[in-house]
Symmetry: C2
Subunit: 341 residues, 2 copies
């Protein structure tokens, strides 16, 4: 009935090529696959010609069905609208393509039910490996998958799920930030983070911040989560007397956006009244006020490395679980020029 379903069925198949070239399907299959060396020059040429004349494309579904290799990698992303996720995903995709794999991205929108559906889906399509950047509730499903295919975590751990993990060295990053702020003369700090939902990197950053503050007698510090009280909380922080010049530390790009919004609404002069440093480096950081100092993550590398981990496991590496920590890079801009203005 539909003009397309008919067309779909009429696609040229391996048999067509074989007949056209006057050879068997097996030979065509060998030509398609890695066994081209086993073919005589003459036959190879005839097959090649038949293929191009007919415009033949092997059907990956059928190949996957037979060989159990789909050349598909799945990626579970918590929030596709987070620039960090996009950047990592781009790195993963590039690495995938370079190695002949394709990437199927599933966005969970931070929703547990969607995560479950997507996991079922990815499994149904026989992906060969999975890259996970979500909270990973549904540990059952994940454990199931884990037993069928390699799995690499990005940025955030999943509770009691042992797997390779690629991400940022959060304690080191926080240390860089604190060193920088202290050196620039800031004394009273407030870390702004997205709400605690179990995200391990978020927790690490906050914990490192707290312990860092404790170890530095000169500094005072507190932490607030983003919620509808944020404006009030930040304004209170700015108003209250403290040990010295104040600065805000945004735990990621989302926090940086929310915080900057609050500062503007509060009529702050960015950034003379208060310092600001943010994790992640988004393209608009330089444009706001005197520019936002950033701790950039090597997102492309993180993505590429995540895929490489997967590839090693696919190739049979059964060694112990690894953790790869990348270093953040400090990019100084106007928002931490110092309390001495």
């Amino acid at each position: 009935m539909n003009s397309f379903s008919a067309a779909q069925r009429s696609r040229v198949t391996m048999l067509d090529v074989a007949e056209r070239a006057g050879v068997s399907k097996a030979s065509v299959s060998r030509f398609i696959g890695e066994d081209r060396a086993l073919l005589s020059e003459a036959i190879a040429r005839r097959i090649e010609q038949a293929i191009s004349e007919l415009g033949y494309r092997p059907n990956q579904m059928a190949r996957g069905l037979k060989r159990g290799r789909t050349r598909l990698i799945g990626m579970l992303v918590a929030d596709i609208r987070n620039p960090y996720s996009i950047a990592v995903m781009h790195g993963v995709e590039t690495a995938c393509r370079r190695h002949g794999y394709s990437l199927v991205v599933c966005n969970t929108d931070r929703d547990d039910e969607q995560e479950r559906q997507h996991l079922a889906l990815l499994r149904a399509y026989n992906i060969e490996g999975l890259i996970v950047n979500t909270l990973g509730h549904h540990r059952d499903e994940l454990l199931d998958l884990r037993s069928e295919m390699p799995l690499v975590l990005v940025d955030r751990k999943v509770d009691r799920l042992e797997s390779d993990l690629v991400g940022l060295d959060n304690p080191a990053a926080v240390k860089i930030a604190l060193d920088h702020l202290e050196q620039r003369g800031y004394r009273d700090l407030l870390m702004v983070t997205e709400p605690f939902d179990g995200t391990s990197s978020r927790i690490e950053r906050v914990d490192s911040f707290k312990s860092g503050i404790e170890q530095r007698p000169a500094l005072a510090g507190a932490v607030v989560e983003i919620d509808n009280q944020l404006t009030a909380r930040i304004q209170a922080f700015l108003a209250q007397p403290g040990p010295g010049p104040k600065a805000l530390f945004c735990a990621n790009g989302i926090a940086a956006l929310a915080t900057t919004q609050v500062l503007r609404e509060s009529g702050c002069h960015l950034f003379d009244d208060v310092g600001l440093i943010a994790l992640d480096d988004l393209d608009w950081y330089p444009l706001v006020g005197s520019g936002i100092t950033a701790l950039a993550q090597p997102t492309a590398e993180i993505g590429a490395r995540a895929f490489e981990c997967l590839l090693q496991r696919l190739r049979g590496d059964n060694g112990p679980v690894r953790t790869v920590d990348f270093a953040a890079q400090l990019i100084e801009r106007g928002s931490t020029l110092g309390a001495s203005r």
Copy 2:
């Protein structure tokens, strides 16, 4: 050799379920598919139990192979790092899932060769429909695909490729912008656009701008592309005498980023020295200077509508090609407060 390839093969199959439930594969298949009504209560229950006991998941590859229906939709995106593309993609994906489809996204990074590879790939995986947001060189490939499956263009046309098109009403959007700028007292305008590479929406915006200027005696206008001369060009525009207050019109988010950068470097006070209006509405627009006035695109709707077009075609609609134009929405911020400061 690899522990995973073994696991992969040992996945529970339909036959396992059938034996466990003491029925035939056909019954299991009916249970899985839409024909559940044809089964007796007793058998259905036994199958259901066997499935849950064994943790059976149908293999979509095999289903797709047999039925010619993969429930997969492909999307070709020119630049995954463009927020517009992300937003649209999110809309598409949501619509897909709501209708039981999954989305395979391919990012071409504006590279023709990658576009070709991705097209081959999508075809190899038997996607049922394609959403295209690229320049669409390789018209041959696209025409081939077009004959096999429905295809919907987003935002930009592809030369001599007749297909449904979902995007923005660019002339109307530009008119809104010009009306707004003129009403606010700006008289000397400069449109900043990404380089002309054939992108139809880009051309439409520039053409509408030019003809709009011609129709308004009070206004003067010119156009510049983003290149390494951009800073010089914008500075020249700002320095030269003109018919009145000056404003910049950024043809999309990328242009807005580049332009704002230049203005900062040039020491402009954002936005007292010069007005600014930008197409797209990115989350950081409110944060820069006094805030950037935007023409927001309904990206989620655009994405959803693109998928719905596809779905209609998949359901057999062979009617004439349609074009869906959405309206931009003006969001006023500080950057067009007017020349009267």
